[in-house]
């Protein structure tokens, strides 16, 4: 893997953000709105019952973590969409860049853009609503790591779907986090879900994170083994997503889809 080629994808995104600051707004605006909205909801719920559960951790903390996951996933897909929108695939893949270098570039770009979002969320949550990531203790690193890995897996998978189905299938990608959130049990314990939804939740690493978050808020510790299982599950999903992307890419080379990639509708 050549680091210069990987860096080309990341530096391209930085150039785009520098020349068009409007690209930075979505990284900051939506997460800021979410934190402010849920910050006040949390504050209001807290005022209703002085001895009730800690809503700051279970609600605002959950929003912060879920938005971080969403930003990671969209960081990968948005960097991929840059090539869809600018019809760059021919010039890009006629160069020596390999699929793994390209995907590594998308992931590195996502790390950069999602760190911007995470920083904004942490500052707002800390100074406006008194929620510090330090309140989670050491498990915070585990929570973020699991959500990061799962976001990467889903971002690669979603990009492969768009590569396979064409540019018009972009609309399929945006609602993915919202579709997964009921199964991931972001705001409620897993046991309230029906059995079939719980079965789905068990293959979703975020479900382990949010169960851990609630255990932490209830004064119980987070089992390291559970987070490790979630991380391994997410790593497996990254490997599967990467395999799927490579398969779709090779199929696109065989079928001529890559050469013909243009403004097509969903096939």
């Amino acid at each position: 893997m050549n680091p210069r080629r990987v860096s080309a994808i990341v530096l391209r995104q930085i150039d785009l953000m520098r020349s068009s600051p409007t690209r930075v707004v979505p990284l900051v605006a939506w997460v800021a709105i979410d934190i402010v909205l849920w910050g006040y909801i949390t504050r209001y719920l807290g005022s209703l019952s002085a001895h009730g559960p800690d809503f700051t951790l279970t609600l605002l903390g959950a929003v912060l973590l879920w938005d971080f996951f969403g930003r990671i996933m969209q960081g990968v897909t948005t960097a991929f969409f840059e090539d869809v929108w600018s019809r760059s695939f021919l010039n890009l893949f006629a160069s020596p860049i390999s699929v793994s270098e390209y995907v590594a570039g998308l992931v590195a770009t996502s790390i950069l853009t999602s760190l911007i979002s995470l920083l904004v969320m942490l500052l707002l949550a800390r100074f406006a609503f008194g929620l510090s990531l330090l309140a989670f203790g050491l498990p915070a690193a585990g929570f973020l790591a699991v959500l990061f890995l799962f976001g990467i897996a889903l971002g690669i998978f979603a990009s492969a779907v768009v590569l396979r189905l064409g540019p018009a299938s972009e609309w399929l990608v945006w609602p993915i986090p919202a579709l997964l959130s009921p199964f991931a049990a972001v705001f409620y314990p897993l046991h309230v879900l029906p059995q079939w939804m719980q079965a789905v939740a068990h293959v979703l690493p975020p479900a382990y994170v949010f169960e851990g978050l609630r255990a932490l808020a209830a004064g119980r510790g987070v089992e390291p083994g559970t987070l490790l299982l979630a991380a391994l599950l997410a790593l497996l999903q990254i490997a599967l997503a990467l395999g799927f992307f490579v398969r779709v890419f090779r199929g696109a080379i065989r079928s001529g889809l890559l050469a013909r990639y243009s403004a097509e509708s969903v096939a």
């Binding site: 050549n2 210069r4 021919l90 006629a94 020596p96 860049i97 001529g256």
Partner: protein, 259 residues
Amino acid sequence: MPVSNHARVPPAPPALEVRDIAKRYAGKTAVRGISLRIEAGEIVGLLGPNGAGKTTTINMILGLLAPDAGQVMIAGLDLARQRAAALAQVNFQASYAPLPGNLTVRQNLLFFGRLYALPDVVRRVDELLESFKLTALARTRCGLLSSGEQARVALAKTLLNRPRLLLLDEPTSSLDPATADDLRRMIRDMATGNGCAVLWTSHNMLEVEQVCDHVLLLAQGRVLLQGNPRRLAAEHGDASLEALFIRIAREPLAGGEGA
């Protein structure tokens, strides 16, 4: 007895050697057994009516489309087995593959320079900006440039990696005659000065006669005729290359060597 060193040096492989490539996709046979060879410094024209298989052939040489059969060798490297090393020796330009319009001229050249893993990309980009008289446009987004300016930027992009093989798919199709003439001269200079081999597609037969050393005339995915563009028409009893082209386009099965 002293032995000359020259005897031990193996001959340089051709810049491009295509052996009997074929492709069937989207329900039809686009290319059926095309072979061609281009040496360093040679400009070869790939001609043919729409749908003859020119762009499909170029896409297979670029690794954007996998051939069903045959082999593509670039500077002695097998594209199927040594993709990155082979593509590092190539660059291409086509009007249907624009550079990202939301990046400036300089950002575009830096982006592609990094994709080719150039060791001193900033210096190389500055050199090309100067030699293509693009320095004043360096901070302009490519999407805002005129067709001629975009063509110059695209050509500068193709030289980033000092390619041994250049693929140009109708590079002058959207240019005014004066700009097209400048571009043809630049490409001719690159071939003679740098030993760059060029595969050129065009529908402009006068341009082909002026620029190319050798042409291949395709129809229905096959090479029907090939030869020197300035002699080919007379050899086949036509008044001009354009007249020969029109005859082949209308009656491909009657006109070719392979018929």
